[in-house]
């Protein structure tokens, strides 16, 4: 008698396993349906690599940075394991979002799977929380300042912002207690939430069956017809075991891809966190770029719209989507308003992420090469440009701040007289211009500066 038989006699396990593996899936379930299991696989990789990283990582301000350095430089496979954790973190976000998009565009969140969608969106929120808390742990400059900015943004929540920010940080500043908190969130609290939500999500999928792709008769399904149409669709589909082959192939391919990324690019570690820097330019992780870029559109007192209202209302809307989009149409072509709005929103987020990724280099780096080519007079103009802080807001040849117009070709756009008047007193030339004036700049220096700007064509 095999162990399987022995267990089966006591637990009836064989029937359970067979019911699980050989259940029929609806017609046309295919590659797009591997996105969810790919996300699950990546989360499992995160749990495995995360557990192993915790053998060496020390969550204290004195030792965090050193222990990450030690993992990366001294431990065999250390750079690889850390790299894998870092790259799979990005891939989890990508695949969770792709999975969400598949479910959205195929109407899979509709009756009777509304609760699966809600749990899924909560899972997406949990994944972002993992990203935000995990980012601090290496305690380098990137980690520290992204957390300073992130908690400043939390402060914008009307009424409760100050309290929320303090609870996150464990006090008034990002410091020793913030690291302890983020560590506890990242390795204990969030994993508990993640595992519970994943278990619920999977239970629902298995209990209700995979959503039928909206093809043929299933493009529009009224509630009362759902049961019958679903059973009919299942008769024509494959078994789960056959589908598992696709899941397995995707998982292996992803692991190989992530391993390659880890070996090729590793995980960066900047200088150790320094709260008193005057030169560091904070950047969030790429999947928060769209929020960071959104800040450009809402200056001054409007900042709260980008820091609080859009993220909060956007998340709530996403969470409750099944209760807004509740018609019987499932095919994306049968509900053009929802599909169109989704596509526009998605393009916006992708565009903002692209803007974030293409953000110019901060001013003051690698400027030697640019200056070397210039004649003495133009070089002097360049020096004034730098001394006046123009590069804080303006870009020349891909370098500088993005607040003001790109000046790389300003010489062919404006004549010297206009430039001179504008730089001196921007508001006199263009009322409402956000550029600060330069009335204090000597006439001679202004001429040199304008000659330099004129040379940019």
């Amino acid at each position: 008698m095999s162990l399987g038989d022995w267990l089966n006699e006591r637990l009836g396990s064989r029937r359970l396993i067979e019911a699980f593996l050989y259940r029929r899936l609806p017609k046309a379930v295919g590659w797009p349906h591997t996105l969810g299991s790919a996300t699950l696989f990546l989360l499992l990789v995160q749990i495995a690599t995360g557990i192993f990283l915790s053998f060496y990582y020390v969550p204290s301000v004195e030792h965090a940075y050193g222990s990450v350095e030690y993992i990366t430089n001294e431990i065999p496979f250390g750079a690889f394991v850390r790299g894998l954790h870092r790259w799979c973190a990005s891939l989890v976000v990508i695949f969770a979002v792709l999975h969400l998009l598949r479910v959205f565009f195929t109407g899979a969140f509709k009756y009777p799977r509304e609760a699966s969608w809600v749990i899924g969106v909560l899972l997406l929120g949990t994944i972002f929380a993992f990203g935000f808390t995990g980012y601090l742990l290496p305690w380098d400059q990137k980690a520290y300042w992204a957390t300073v900015v992130g908690t400043h943004i939390a402060e914008f929540a009307p009424g409760v912002g100050e309290m929320v920010a303090r609870l996150l940080k464990g006090g008034p500043d990002v410091g020793i207690r913030t690291l302890g908190r983020f560590y506890a969130f990242h390795v204990l609290f969030l994993p508990a939430i993640l595992v519970s939500l994943v278990a619920l999500h999977l239970f629902m999928v298995i209990r209700q069956g995979i959503a039928p792709p909206p093809v043929g008769k299933l493009a529009v399904v009224r509630r009362e017809d759902y049961r019958e149409l679903y059973e009919e669709s299942k008769v024509q589909g494959h078994t789960f075991l056959e589908h598992l082959l696709r899941d397995g192939m995707i998982s292996l391919a992803l692991l190989i891809f992530a391993s390659w990324l880890s070996l090729r690019y590793g995980a960066p570690l900047e200088e150790i966190a320094d709260s008193s820097t005057t030169t560091y330019v904070p950047r969030p992780e790429w999947y928060f770029y769209f929020l960071f870029e959104l800040l450009w559109f809402f200056p001054g007192e409007w900042t709260v719209i980008a820091t609080f209202w859009i993220p909060t209302l956007g998340f709530l809307f996403l969470l409750l989507l099944p209760f807004f989009d509740r018609g019987p149409e499932r095919s994306p072509f049968r509900r053009p308003v929802a599909s169109g709005a989704g596509a526009v929103l998605l393009s916006g987020i992708v565009y903002l992420t692209y803007l974030g990724a293409m953000a110019p280099e901060p001013p003051g780096r690698s400027s030697d090469q640019t200056v070397a080519k210039l004649s003495p007079d133009l070089q002097k103009g360049r020096e004034i440009y730098e001394a006046q802080g123009c590069a804080a807001c303006h870009i020349i040849d891909g370098q500088g701040g993005a607040a003001g117009p790109d000046l790389s070709k300003i010489g062919s756009l404006r004549d010297p007289e206009w430039l001179k008047r504008f730089i001196k007193e921007p508001q006199a030339v263009k009322p409402g211009s956000p550029m600060p004036d330069s009335k204090g700049l000597a006439e001679e220096s202004l001429d040199v500066l304008v000659r330099y700007l004129q040379s940019l064509k």
Binding site: V149, H152, G175, S276, T278, Y280, L295, E301, T303, G389
Partner: protein
């Protein structure tokens, strides 16, 4: 398997209600007994008002009138462990009337570390193009309010920086810095 029949009928509604109520009370008692201390443990250290801690910015003679310099604050004493004092940098501006402005180094937009450009007497924030003048007023960019500042005092020729507060556009104090 799966043949566990439930037997609703054998349990009269009154008794069922009684049992669920008692179970509810028990759950509530467990949640409160565990939850109150744990919530306090988690939250109270974070929101407790910190004792007023002065930190040394340096001898007054170090600061020349009209100049703005960046200094690291030296905490007077290192309090018990969890109140570990973070290393703070401030911009000190000594004004003609003998008073000081001690600026916090986080931009008031989303907190990026500002820098001082002495050639044109302006503060710059590197993230979204915030520009402030030497008194901390917003000149350009998205910051919603002037630079936050530390309270200050001079004792025996030494400048000390205290807690941080926010100011209005007219540079009048509007309340404690919220974090």
């Amino acid at each position: 398997m799966s043949n566990v029949e439930n037997d609703l009928a054998s349990l009269p509604p009154n008794r069922r209600r009684f049992i669920t109520t008692v179970l509810g009370v028990i759950s509530g008692a467990i949640a409160a007994t565990l939850g109150v201390p744990l919530a306090g443990f988690f939250g109270l250290p974070a929101i407790r008002k910190r004792e007023f801690v002065w930190a040394e910015a340096g001898s007054v003679d170090r600061f020349k009138v009209g100049e703005i310099v960046f200094v690291l604050l030296k905490p007077l004493k290192r309090p018990v462990w969890p109140e570990e004092a973070p290393k703070l940098g401030v911009f000190v501006s000594r004004k003609a009337d003998g008073s000081f402005d001690v600026f916090h180094n986080h931009c008031t937009h989303v907190g990026c570390p500002i820098n001082w450009n002495s050639a044109i007497q302006r503060f710059f924030s590197p993230c979204h193009g915030g520009v402030f003048d030497k008194e901390g007023r917003v000149l350009a960019g998205p910051p919603p309010r002037p630079l936050d500042r530390h309270e200050w005092k001079v004792e025996d020729g030494v400048l000390y920086a205290g807690s941080i507060y926010m100011v209005s556009e007219r540079l009048e104090r509007v309340g404690p810095y919220h974090s």
